[in-house]
């Protein structure tokens, strides 16, 4: 069963990352949209397959909707926490708002609504303020002061709730773990309809979050990227900081009843961290984190229904699964693409080594017999999958061919490419000899590594530095460079 919950996510991610490879020209919003729609399609099929009764369907959709609201708000703000390397302050705030909730409840008598949110926002800013002042006034390190502030406030909150809570159904368990399944049952009358109580907090939280990010888009961006410049430009860095902390606290508390404070932390950080791997634009990161958060909610609910377990818990698990997918498959920063880049580099190096050896063999054969220079270093052909791939690539590019007696030899094009490699090698050896205090038997190996990375431009610079030197330290001629279109494959960055 768990396999079936994992595979749709993974398949869809493979598909989207392939799209990214294939179409560099696609508009930037296409990828998250494609990912969103594919997963939505899979979720739709799964939803039918789970066979909710007609009575349960609106309730199920309602719970999913509430899950999306919670995780969406959290993930958007979470992007800024992740970018500012403040992920743990989300953790701290989500715990420290508890006394704010208790106090607001004491005065309003309602365990939900705008009063609770304001109380929490005040405590969120207070947490951040106390942490900073404890750090700057006393001799307490920043992480220790954060630890002190949030645990003390959290403990205070637990006690206040136990003192005041019993009088009106506010219990610590609910605040900690939440209970998304029952959110649809707890309704309040509004505009003649029974509206889920959780929406009273979540809808304002969502509106506030979107408004906050839209209005303060440039301020949040510059304060996150370069706070020193922001301050020098006269932007009130501290104000933006405290507003962000207040928003995090507000959204946290709005999500409490549904997903609970512990899972809020997951929703603040995990979708945002995954989104950060998938793109290198801020607005795309926000969109990706929304999409990932939405699918965490959808698949979290569906898999919880299938496994008959905690929905909020499965939502956090699904965020984790998508994060794992991003780590593996992200287009530029993912493990898979890094592995492919390394493989491609290895193949290039192996092919270049092969043609370099063939060139040296030809060179030796052309020398008079018995010449000392005719001795070439013994070398083995590259073996294994990389060797095979390199031979395929050389043949495909037409750099080598099989001759009449069945052995491999360079084509005209291949000889030109090889000449450039050997030239790079010998230029580097000469450069090392001229500038480094190295014995002559230490020159070959560094040059063997460097020859693959010296493009024509660098070769020309070396040639100029060496004042047109013709002979390498081992007495062999440095061949002249040839313009070879096929070897224009530049060394890969990274």
């Amino acid at each position: 069963m768990s396999a079936s919950t994992l595979s749709p996510t993974k398949q869809a991610q493979t598909t989207t990352s392939r799209t990214k490879y294939a179409s560099g020209l696609s508009p930037d919003w296409l990828l998250p949209a494609v990912y969103f729609l594919i997963l939505l399609f899979i979720a739709g099929i799964w939803f039918r397959y789970l066979e909710f009764s007609t009575k349960d369907t609106p309730k199920a959709l309602g719970i999913i909707g509430i899950g999306i609201l919670c995780s969406g708000c959290c993930s958007l703000l979470g992007c800024y926490l992740v970018l500012r390397r403040m992920s743990l302050i989300g953790d701290a705030i989500s715990h420290a708002v508890l006394p704010g909730i208790a106090i607001a409840f004491y005065f309003t008598g309602q365990p939900y609504g705008i009063g609770i949110m304001l109380g929490a926002m005040a405590l969120g800013m207070l947490t951040s303020f106390l942490t900073q002042s404890l750090h700057s006034l006393g001799r307490v390190s920043e992480d220790a002061s954060m630890g002190v502030v949030f645990t003390s406030l959290f403990a205070l909150g637990v006690i206040l709730i136990q003192l005041w809570g019993p009088r009106a159904h506010l219990d610590a368990d609910c605040v900690l773990y939440g209970d998304i399944i029952f959110t649809m049952n707890r309704t309040v009358p509004m505009f003649g309809h029974e509206v889920p109580r959780a929406l009273l907090a979540l809808v304002p939280a969502a509106v506030l979050t979107l408004g906050f990010i839209a209005l303060l888009w440039k301020e949040l961006k510059i304060v996150s990227f370069d706070p020193a410049l922001a301050a020098a430009l006269g932007i009130k860095v501290w104000l933006v900081h405290y507003l962000l902390m207040g928003m995090v606290a507000g959204v946290t508390v709005a999500s409490f009843e549904s997903v609970g404070s512990i899972l809020v932390v997951a929703m603040l950080i995990v979708p945002a961290a995954a989104a950060g791997l998938l793109t290198d634009r801020l607005w795309q990161m926000l969109i990706w984190s929304l999409v990932i958060a939405a699918h965490s909610a959808i698949f979290g609910y569906l898999s919880a229904a299938a496994l008959n377990t905690s929905a909020a818990g499965m939502m956090a698990v699904m965020a984790g699964v998508q994060f794992g997918g991003a780590v593996l498959l992200a287009p530029r920063h993912g493990l898979l693409s890094r592995w492919l880049r390394n493989l491609r580099l290895s193949v290039r190096i192996a092919s270049e080594d092969t043609i370099g050896q063939l060139y040296r063999a030809e060179e030796a054969a052309a020398l008079p017999a018995g010449s000392q220079l005719a001795a070439i270093r013994p070398s083995s052909a590259p073996v294994g999958i990389i060797g095979w791939l390199s031979r395929q690539s050389l043949r495909r590019k037409g750099l080598v061919a099989t001759n009449a007696v069945g052995s491999t030899e360079l084509t005209h094009q291949g000889r030109n490419a090889a000449r450039n490699i050997v030239r790079a090698h010998r230029l580097w050896e000469s450069f090392l000899e001229a500038n480094f205090d190295l014995p002559s038997d230490h020159l070959h190996e560094p040059a063997e590594r460097m020859e693959h990375f010296l493009d024509p431009d660098l070769q020309q610079q070396l040639d100029q530095q060496l004042a047109g030197r013709q002979i390498d330290p081992h007495g062999k001629a440095i061949p002249q460079g040839v313009a070879v279109p096929t070897s224009a494959e530049r060394p890969l960055p990274g």
Partner: protein, 254 residues
Amino acid sequence: MSPILDIHDVTVAYQRKPVLWDVDLIIEQPQLAAIVGPNGAGKSTLIKAVLGLIPMASGSVQVLGEPVARQRKKIGYVPQRESVDWDFPVSVLDVVLMGTYGRLGWFRRPGHAEREWARQCLNKVGLSQFERRQIGQLSGGQQQLVFLARALAQKAEIYFMDEPMAGVDAATEQIIFELLRELRQQGKTIIAVHHDLRTVPLYFDWVALLNMRLVASGPVETTFTPENLRKTYGGRLAILDAAGEAMKAGSEAP
């Protein structure tokens, strides 16, 4: 006519221990000025204190006759390249656009005019073809040029630059120098922390020698002398260190 920069008796302290003592510095005319001194001399600290990024223990700063807080739109700043996260998800053009944020004020986003201006500034440093790149994909020298383009986008009168030529290759250093000289010719003042003593007389026409206190300041020809350099680099003043420690200890004593 008020001086361009008037640093009056500025002392900066970390946890009550002064790291910069009573710096008094006046720049009357537009200059291409270098701040020079050994490691830990307080060069960056001075710039940050002038800009109000760290608090001053005492003293005051005026730019063009007014406190810094009222002249922000006339002040450009280039922080050290290492001070930001280059993996941040923004494009090169985004970073240059940030130079225009100060003029826009709260809530307003950069529009078409700002984009055009940012493109021009990017073009000035020769990085137009990279405008859509993520900033981490640039070389160190190119990143430094992006910071300079961003400073140009600020349209300031006086620029503070923290090591604008640190860690760049010779060709980029030349480009940066040409840019600074052009700014200077437009009547702007540049105050740059500089680390390479050999190039001070080449690039700058005014110099401030700093080592926990101002050792000397003035035109390069008269101030950048072996005698002054010896005073600047000939070790820290042991008595200043001891006095600083005494102040710190005094404030902590029971």
